[in-house]
Symmetry: C2
Subunit: 319 residues, 2 copies
């Protein structure tokens, strides 16, 4: 019985196993994903992003509790900064959301920011698809920071919540500008802190400067104190409003299609490299190139030319 079948039968351990297989680049994992794919497309995917220290984990914990109260199964993909030393996620699954640890309706997966063949965005898309296929009705993706990866990942989401917090440094303003366009809902967390109202006002002003067309979604700025569960119900309502707008405006279907295309491109990039890299490792070409670069007989640019022409240069029959 395939892992995919066992996942569709509700076996949580099979899902964890497939996610490890995907990480390890097992070829069988691709077959499992093909089997699961027809069962995806039902989950609502919620992205939570913002700078370090904004309290995103606590917010995700509270949102998870809120969706559980609605009777929904919840998957959480937490993108953790990686320790370059251990190679693992710094926070990890275990210290996250202890209160949901024994709830079979919550499935948590931490993805370290390093070591994903083909990129973190591809790895996250795979994990979201597995959670979707296993029947998680809400999948929350939590990312720390606002780098290229984070923005790509957040674009996997249907609704993106950008979390801010009062009293961070000047650079934060620049980052706010960067995420202004990706946020569907803005949250000022730790709203009891000095400066919370000012942060909210500044965000609102920046949002008002955005050009909009009739029918566009107009993002609101919400206030929360996640650690005291304040403002969470209102946030859940606002997210639900955005979800309705997505469906009514046809945006949901467009997001789904864009996500497929991007996922295809990322998988293609990864598989092409894996094929050719595996090839030159096995036939000894890689070792020759590394030695030639060390001794200065070639350089990265020339070496790539050589490999490409060896692989594609000889006329190959087109199918």
């Amino acid at each position: 019985m395939s892992l995919a079948s066992r996942i569709l039968d509700g076996e949580l351990r099979a899902a964890a196993r497939l996610m490890r297989n995907l990480d390890d680049g097992f070829r069988s994992a691709v077959d499992d994903m093909k089997e699961l794919y027809p069962h995806t497309g039902r989950a609502f995917i919620l992205g939570i992003t913002g700078p370090p220290g904004a309290g995103k984990s606590t917010l995700v914990d509270q949102l998870t509790a809120a969706y559980r109260e609605q009777g929904k199964r919840v998957g959480v993909v937490a993108i953790d900064p990686t320790s370059p030393f251990t190679g693992g996620a710094i926070l990890g699954d275990r210290i996250r959301m202890n209160r949901h640890a024994d709830d079979p309706g919550v499935f948590i997966r931490s993805l370290a920011t390093r070591g994903h063949m083909g990129g973190l965005s591809r790895a996250t898309a795979d994990v979201v698809n597995v959670m979707d296929a296993m029947g998680m009705e809400v999948v929350i993706i939590e990312t720390v920071g606002v780098g290229q990866d984070e923005i790509d990942i957040v674009r996997l989401a249907h609704t993106t919540v950008v979390v801010s917090v009062p009293g961070l440094g000047d650079d934060i303003q620049a980052i706010k500008a960067g995420v202004l366009e990706i946020g569907d809902v803005f949250v000022v967390n730790k709203a009891d802190r000095d400066g919370a109202d000012r942060t909210a006002r500044e965000l609102a002003v920046m949002l008002e400067m955005k050009k909009t067309a009739p029918g566009d979604w107009l993002p609101k700025v919400m206030m929360t104190e996640a650690s005291r569960n304040r403002g969470i119900a209102e946030l859940v309502d606002e997210i639900a409003l955005h979800r309705s707008w997505l469906a009514d405006s046809g945006t949901l279907e467009r997001i789904r299609q864009e996500r497929s295309v991007r996922h295809f491109e990322e998988l293609l990039r990864e598989r092409l490299f894996a094929e050719v890299f595996g090839h030159i490792r096995v036939n000894g070409r890689y070792r020759e190139i590394v030695e030639a670069m060390a001794s200065g007989r070639t350089d990265p640019y020339r070496a790539v030319d050589t490999v490409i022409s060896e692989r594609f240069g000889t006329p190959c029959q087109e199918s």
Copy 2:
């Protein structure tokens, strides 16, 4: 006359032009890079990283001034968070380091975190190589944040300075742990702020817990107030000490070789994708796949299988 020759002749505008060509994926840029490559390997590459709000830009500005006083030419590659809306860097070259704007001994290039074919790390490596070939004796790479990209980029550097700042949130501790192993020198900037001593002590304690072997470099924690130019001379001295250690311990040569190998792999990944993606765009296969995915007749996993088998499945002559 090639752009590369003009760069080697000292023409700054030719360097800027090549960097744009690299960004745009021009094939001629690869030829220029091949021509420049033998002239690289002389620059000292300094990485500056840390969380948003730590004052990295000011620190880079002061370090630039200090190296200029030593008579050294300085290149700065600033990795800026990107506006997903405009696609451009948020901070940009122009508002950076105005006081160095008219100094021909300083060459500044901002790289946006988005839109680099083959990844930001590859794009940064290319820009560093151009600056190296054009005779910049110090190349400073400044990154915001600590995502996967940032860590990869920082690994391009010979010496990495991790900038911290007192009084950020709890998540910062986790991130500190993540960058602990990549830092050769640690700086607590804004050292006049409350809690600076505590932050420095915490860092020192974490550093002491690292396992070390005899002959290893032992990172120090330095205090700076970059905005008042305090602690900069001491930081420059400490960086120079690390540079000497790199040379004496043979680490410099190992870093150079590792960088070539990684650059080769990144260029290969990019070129393979560009070749095959270009191929399926031109022959109409891409459009067919996008439509088949939209209508549910295929999925990303199956579509990649198809493309791979079409490209590699038919036995192709090995050279």
